[in-house]
């Protein structure tokens, strides 16, 4: 049995007395005895490949193999397996020690008493344990059977351990016979677990191949109805357990409704087919009508009931049920070992192990791979297993020659799948069970489950991420057939180191299809910083490497056959269960009422969306509809009004680059003409509002850049708009208005001095100049007499304000002075004399930086006026 890691060479067989005890300890030794021959046959069969899809013509092979079984040494069986009871009695408590031991959360602390009772420890995982590890081996050798690695083959245990099981199984059978007549609890799953002979229509969608199930020949050992098991379980423990199980099932229904990963082939039938030939076939059909409530606590209604499924529930129920009851379950034989590679969910290995456990030592189940493998190992013990009961039925009977008819491989696959699904349900139920009892490490079943789950996770991750496919996992490392259960790692063997695979898995979950969308902040930010930094350090390089790696990973993932991902698909990852709904879309703790949005703000937001889209797509998408084409009668005008919001102010400079000059012109036109709608223009003079600052900082600069490139005609046009539409005094009272004016004035002045030639503009035409002069005079006349009012009221003793207004006045004075023979400046000076005097006084006398600044402003002002004097001189006057 090379697939078990055994040395297949044939040592002298027919081990004499004393071989029985020593043989089991050493994994590598030839097993000897009857089993080796069977194993050889198995090996041969696997060499030719086993196609679990049913392509093999299993019957003849099975017959040939069966015929080739060497039963010569049956007389040695008693000697091999120990005689009689072995002194262990028949009253086994399979949980007593376990619960105490597992409360310590130490898997290896499994109580030794169990193994002692077993009287013959099962050989541990291959290649590792010697006599010194006996206690550990005993752990693995408990009635629950297999080591999680799945490598250790089952060796035959003394018949003493089987004898009590058989007897208890008979009891179970009897109960089942009686129990099937009991009324079944009405539950949701009832439909999903119809009597075995019935095929619920809703199952069809999932398991069309299940049809053959019903067609088992009557004499044939139909697959044990999973419902039976729970029934046995429940009946044993009484109604309380039924209630408990029903509760658990109900709780877990919702959990499993969605999570139903595609199942794979399930391992075939328990190995005890042969034995069941002898068993009471007649019991099966009635047994299938066992109360289904027990059967599948976790199965969704669509799950077809499967014999193998029955095992997990009872096993799982080990917790809530009284310790005595699991005895039956564990004594129950055979579910076919379910190849972990075929099992999709975390239930796979769990189910398998459960099956192993329940089959008990006599089963000698090994790696779950393939329907044929482990079962053959059971042949030697089949006579002993006979009484083990109805459970074993069905399954891959084809492999076993003696079986009377065998279900097709298709049926077998069905069963496998069902078992797998059931196992998965089991898994979830156990999960919840564990949650229900947070300290529930005392449950041996849960312990084993967790351990198995961890292994299965790796395999599942590979499946989910597309790095492996079903066939490989089914085949195992050797590719010759089902190999030992290895959690799906075997297919890579020496090709890639494990850590790379793990890295792939982890990155696969991180890589997103649309990084610029999911990872927006980081991408843009890194662009900013790299643009500013431009220092290619080693640190910057790894970012590129990671992005390259992500690209590679993406290709890898898409290249493989990925399952279609729904938004709610739950992935099993190496890091745990991740649901796509939760990672990319975390559950919101705060629900914001979307309806409570301000009506006015809607156009702002929509504009923002436009802006963002524009920037993202790098398209020049005009938004003329947002600029001034709104109903003019509407007050306040939408465009400036939208600038009244700080968001509007902030978005303004962002959208400017995408506007054509015409659009910009119309925007400014609208802005100037509708300036009364601007909040910043309507604020009381001298107010120091944040909006004003924001306006100055966000809106004005783009205007500056625009205005500084326009010809005088445009300036004239703007000026005219301002003058015609607004009261200059009112306009000048606001910083924003002053800013507009200053903008235009400065530009006009530059143009008059010929600065426009730098931009390719010819010197302003005479018409334009005269027009400008006209406008300016008009402006000055409007402001005349009110210059003092431009200064903020004395209450606002903010020197900053004074600063700005001084600047503005300086501008006015300067440009005005050019045109007129100092009349306007004199007028200006007269009106602001008081202010200037005060400022000069203060500036000269104090060291306050603000005052000094104010003084500088005054000097500037005076200088602009061309008076040629400074503040000090003025003060002296």
């Amino acid at each position: 049995m090379s697939f078990f890691g055994f040395d297949t060479s044939q040592p002298p067989r027919r081990g004499g007395p004393g071989r029985g005890s020593g043989r089991n300890n050493d994994d590598d030794d030839e097993e000897g005895g009857v089993g080796s021959r069977v194993d050889e046959l198995l090996e041969e069969k696997f060499k030719f490949g086993v196609d679990l899809n049913g392509d093999n013509d299993g019957d003849e092979d099975a017959d040939a193999l069966a015929a080739a079984i060497d039963n010569d040494d049956d007389e040695l069986n008693d000697e091999t397996f120990g005689g009689g009871d072995g002194g262990a009695g028949t009253d086994f408590d399979f949980n007593a020690g376990a619960s105490a031991a597992f409360a310590s959360n130490d898997f290896f602390a499994q109580p030794l008493n169990l193994s002692q009772r077993a009287a013959s420890p099962i050989s541990p995982a291959k290649g590792s344990r010697g006599p010194s590890n006996q206690p550990a081996a005993d752990v693995w050798a408990s009635p629950f059977g297999k080591s999680p690695s799945g490598h250790s083959p089952r060796t035959q245990t003394p018949s003493s351990s089987t004898a009590p099981k058989m007897m208890s199984l008979e009891e179970i059978e009897a109960q089942m016979m009686a129990g099937r007549n009991q009324p079944q609890q009405s539950q949701l799953q009832q439909q999903s677990f119809p009597p075995y002979q019935q095929q619920p229509p809703h199952n069809q969608q999932h398991f069309p191949p299940h049809q053959p199930h019903q067609q088992f020949p009557p004499g044939f050992m139909p697959p044990p109805n999973p419902q039976q098991f729970p029934n046995q379980f429940g009946q044993r423990g009484g109604s309380a357990e039924k209630r408990i199980m029903s509760m658990m099932k109900q709780k877990q229904q919702q959990q499993q409704q969605q999570q139903f990963p595609p199942h794979q082939h399930m391992m075939g039938v328990p190995p005890h087919l042969q034995s069941f030939q002898n068993g009471p076939p007649g019991q099966f059909p009635p047994n299938f009508q066992q109360p289904q409530h027990m059967g599948r606590p976790n199965m969704p209604p669509n799950m077809q009931f499967h014999p193998q499924m029955g095992m997990p529930p009872p096993h799982m129920m080990g917790g809530p049920l009284p310790p005595g009851s699991p005895a039956h379950i564990h004594a129950r034989p055979g579910f076919g070992p379910v190849p972990p590679g075929m099992l999709q969910g975390p239930n796979g290995p769990l189910l398998q192990n459960q099956i192993f456990n329940q089959q008990g030592p006599p089963q000698g189940l090994n790696g779950p791979q393939g329907p044929h493998g482990p079962q053959f190992g059971n042949f030697p013990s089949s006579p002993r297993n006979g009484p083990q009961g109805p459970m074993v039925g069905g399954g891959p009977q084809q492999q076993q020659g003696p079986s009377a008819g065998s279900p097709s491989d298709l049926q077998q696959d069905e069963m496998l799948r069902n078992a797998q699904e059931m196992a998965q349900q089991q898994h979830q139920m156990q999960q919840q069970q564990q949650q229900q009892r947070p300290g529930g490490r005392g449950d041996y079943g849960q312990m084993r489950y967790n351990n198995l789950q961890a292994q299965n996770n790796r395999k599942n991750v590979l499946l989910h991420t597309g790095f492996s496919n079903d066939e490989n996992l089914q085949r195992g490392a050797t590719g010759k057939g089902p190999g030992p259960f290895d959690g799906g790692w075997s297919h890579q063997s020496n090709r890639t180191p494990r850590w790379e695979t793990i890295a792939k898995i982890q990155i696969a979950q991180l890589v997103s299809e649309n990084p610029l969308r999911d990872d927006f902040y980081y991408q843009i930010y890194s662009q900013f910083r790299s643009g500013e930094g431009n220092v290619s350090t080693g640190g910057a390089n790894w970012k590129q490497n990671i992005s390259e790696m992500q690209a590679q990973m993406k290709k890898l993932i898409e290249g493989k056959k990925m399952k279609p991902k729904g938004t709610t698909l739950a992935m099993e990852g190496a890091l745990g269960k991740i649901s796509l709904t939760s990672v990319k879309n975390p559950r919101k703790l705060i629900q914001i009422n979307q309806a409570a949005k301000e009506v006015h703000a809607v156009p702002t937001f929509s504009l923002y969306s436009c802006v963002l889209n524009i920037e993202m797509l790098k398209r020049r998408q005009p938004d003329p509809e947002d600029f001034g084409t709104e109903e003019d009668e509407q007050l306040p005008h939408p465009f400036p009004y939208f600038l009244s919001y700080s968001k509007g102010k902030r978005v303004f400079p962002r959208i400017i680059p995408y506007l054509t000059p015409d659009q910009m012109f119309s925007a400014l036109t609208t802005l100037f003409s509708r300036a009364e709608s601007l909040d910043v223009c309507n604020m009381p003079a001298g107010s120091q509002d944040e909006a004003i600052d924001l306006f100055i900082s966000t809106v004005i600069p783009p205007l500056v850049s625009f205005i500084s490139e326009v010809p005088l005609q445009v300036v004239n046009a703007f000026m005219r708009i301002l003058l015609e539409r607004h009261n200059m005094v009112w306009l000048a009272k606001s910083k924003a208005g002053l800013a507009f004016l200053a903008l235009l004035l400065s530009r006009a002045e530059i143009l008059k001095q010929g600065g426009g030639t730098q931009q390719g503009l010819r010197p302003p035409a005479a018409d334009d100049l005269s027009l400008w002069t006209e406008l300016y005079n008009f402006l000055f006349a409007s402001l005349q007499g009110n210059f003092a009012a431009i200064f903020p009221p004395a209450l606002a003793d903010d020197t900053v304000v004074k600063h700005t207004t001084s600047i503005h006045l300086a501008v006015l004075g300067r440009y005005g002075c050019r045109r007129h023979e100092c009349r306007p400046p004199r007028v200006l000076l007269t009106e602001v004399r008081d202010k200037i005097f005060e400022t000069s006084r203060r500036g000269n006398s104090s060291e306050d930086p603000d005052d000094i600044r104010a003084l500088a402003n005054v000097n500037l002002f005076l200088n602009a006026l061309g008076l040629g004097i400074d503040a000090s001189q003025l003060a002296a006057m």
Partner: protein, 94 residues
């Protein structure tokens, strides 16, 4: 994934992580993952040394679910970009 993206830009910055058990740890942000688990380097328990068991600890891994606050250097955050990213995230969800 907004905060994951956000924290990725803060890798290498000194931050102070306040946990739900009132423990505040300052350190250099080494890495963050999609669950917002945080790895800190060169850590020091801020505020008070009433957690003496941390004195010998130099690096730590903090599970994201136990974090209450993360205090960041303001200069490392681009608020306008963050606003944009938030806006996009919000728009994407709709």
């Amino acid at each position: 994934m907004l905060f994951y993206s956000f924290f990725k830009t803060l890798v290498g910055q000194p931050v102070v992580v306040e946990l739900k058990n009132d423990l505040s740890i300052q350190g250099i942000l080494v890495s963050v993952d999609q669950f917002l688990n945080i790895k800190l380097d060169d850590i020091r328990v801020t505020d008070e040394k009433r957690f003496p068991h941390m004195m010998s600890v130099k690096n730590c891994f903090i599970r994201g679910s136990v974090v209450r606050y993360v205090q960041l250097p303001a200069a490392a955050v681009d608020t306008a970009l963050l606003q944009d990213a938030t806006r996009r995230e919000n728009a994407a969800e709709k």
